[in-house]
Symmetry: C2
Subunit: 186 residues, 2 copies
DNA sequence: CGTTAGTTTGAGAGGACTCAAAGTCTGTGG
DNA sequence: CCACAGACTTTGAGTCCTCTCAAACTAACG
């Protein structure tokens, strides 16, 4: 999915936007396992996933905890850094070979500082992210391991097919073994 | 906390903003237990908590599940409705007597459609909400009941003092009894 | 001072965890 | 094209955390 297709129609033909996309974005391909960004650092890029699957994760008692998956058409960024100016606790890595388009967040800020349309579209995007996160919170809050897995199957079957079991388990907040047992009884 | 104090300095003196705050906002006081907004409806207001404590919740097997608390200086809104145009699954109610200032989201949209400053401040606010939600997800994902409670004490001691145990328990995703036992052993 | 909301305590059941070991898959080098 | 190493998944056994149901206790309020 191309970046421009993710924009509302009226912005797709806006010369400022086109200029922004063509001049300020770079493309990069990550191989399976490649790190895009490391924890405890500042990374002020915003990535748009053109193709592939990526994830964010951190270490807890030596184990990797996957916090989120990012597929085609989604945005990936260090919100800690962009919005709070802190280093981030998350690593970002490619689960499979992935192509991303990225730009410096400062450039996006510059655009939003002069383009009302962009600022408002950006608000819209953030609003949708909030809805997604809220939904995820309510899954984690009270569902059993099995319910969480079934919900993921329903809402994001492609992740289940594409990501290894261990990553999915930690994403759901359950152990690998438990997820494996759940799979076998379905 | 007054609404105007929540704004960045440069906006506090902006005539358009002042006009917006004084003309488009209303004030309302809710008594303990009062419902602000009900599930399965559209509520397109945005509320700013001047004083007090409110919460959002839904019903699961007849039990109330508290999803979030809102204290002084925070915003409360039906993101389902504002960003996705759906009815919401959440109820909002006052945990204790609370004063809110509220406006129609459409008015805020109108303001953002003409005021770059406002649109960008709004983006900033949304960004912070995202950071908070992300943080909450990681608490729910892997902490034990006790760890979640200790984290809440650390980050939001006032909620623990002001909200009844049952609401706090469901907010943490644990049962009342478990929370009570955790309290007694601390 | 009684009624209701809220909290604590107890007992038993079950889900999910950990540690450990055995399978299975996959890709690379001979 | 096969074999093997390393990554990934499954299975087993035992333990512990947290749940549920029930009942007693306490606080708040009219």
């Amino acid at each position: 999915m191309e970046l421009i297709d993710a924009l509302p129609k009226n912005m797709q033909t806006d010369p400022d936007i086109i200029k922004f996309i063509t001049e300020d974005f770079q493309t990069k391909i990550f191989k399976k396992g490649d790190l895009i960004s490391k924890q405890d650092q500042y990374n002020r890029h915003v990535y748009f996933v053109t193709h592939g699957l990526l994830r964010s994760f951190y270490y807890e008692n030596g184990k990797e905890i996957t916090t989120k998956f990012y597929t085609e058409g989604q945005l990936l960024a260090n919100t800690d850094t962009l919005f709070q100016n802190n280093t981030t606790r998350y690593n970002f890595a490619a689960v499979e070979e992935s192509t991303v388009k990225f730009c410096n967040y400062a450039k996006l800020e510059e655009l939003c500082a002069v383009s009302l349309e962009s600022a408002n579209f950006s608000r819209f995007v953030l609003g949708n992210i909030i809805t997604q996160l809220t939904e995820r919170i309510s899954s984690l809050q009270f569902l059993t391991a099995k319910e969480k897995y079934l919900k993921l199957i329903h809402e994001n079957p492609n992740i289940i097919l594409r990501a290894p079991l261990g990553m999915i388990a930690s994403y759901l907040g359950i152990s690998q073994e438990t997820l494996s047992r759940i799979r076998s009884e379905i």
